[in-house]
Subunit: 162 residues, 2 copies
């Protein structure tokens, strides 16, 4: 099974494709989608194109995203939600199952502690995937953590997705 | 010029196509897009299809939407923002100029008073378009008000859209 983990954003969107083979996790690719500061509808169009290319590149079975928090700036939350709508749409067009995880759920899955800090998460992401160094920037290591979280939940999530 | 006014939502989306000929406003069609309570990505896919059909039906030059307020329920605001992202994407795919208006801007354009109540707006929408009765439900009369607002602003907005 291949999971595409997405750290949602409008300007910068972290993505990570992780394959689960038995209990082993294998990184297939990861990086950042960045959208230029053009008019919002055009920006969303560019984001959909980049998402579709990313899906075509890795042929994932599932899409996993981090649940957005209300605590952040409201204007930002509304803009990131618009982008997330387009990300989910791109997933639906490719028939991907979708699951959403809260930050504590992701930390619990990756570190074993729902209150782990960013460095602990990055340390475990690097170790679980056998990487030589921690992927940068944070959007990318977050996307990897989301993909790992879903891969670890996958026997349960196959029923819960949509 | 034909304006497509949209009252954004996830479950119910009001739409209204209004043609401006000189200073006259002509309703071309209006109604409600409703999405079934299925998984969110599928729902967004159905919304995009319905938006594309609506755009194809009226061939508008411009898309106008009501600006979402933060005051409403946060969970609702985030879900409506996801839907709005898909609505803007559908507009961008058809090359529509996009403009967004706050509720007071819409009331000011339609009634001449930014603090007008819902009934005054509905009365003026009905009158300006020469309709026999007030279109129902509110999502539809709101979409008509948004289209009228943009049609009245259009000499300015041709520069501001995107």
């Amino acid at each position: 099974m291949v999971v595409l983990g997405i750290d949602p954003g409008l300007e910068r969107i972290g993505f990570a494709a992780v394959r689960k083979v038995g209990s082993r996790l294998e990184p297939l690719g990861y990086g950042l989608i960045e959208t230029p500061r053009v008019a919002l509808p055009t920006r969303l169009l560019l984001l959909e194109e980049a998402m579709t290319e990313t899906i075509d590149r890795f042929s994932p079975d599932a899409l996993a995203t981090e649940r957005l928090l209300f605590a952040v700036n409201k204007r930002t939350a509304m803009d990131v939600s618009k982008a997330l709508g387009v990300i989910l749409l791109a997933g639906a067009k490719s028939g991907l199952q979708w699951s959403e995880y809260s930050p504590p759920e992701i930390k619990l899955a990756v570190v074993g502690n729902g209150a782990a800090d960013k460095h602990q998460v990055q340390f475990m992401v690097t170790r679980l995937l056998g990487l030589a160094e921690t992927p940068k920037p944070d959007d990318v290591s977050d996307a990897l953590a989301i993909a790992i979280c879903h891969a670890m939940h996958s026997p349960l999530v196959a029923v819960a997705g949509g």
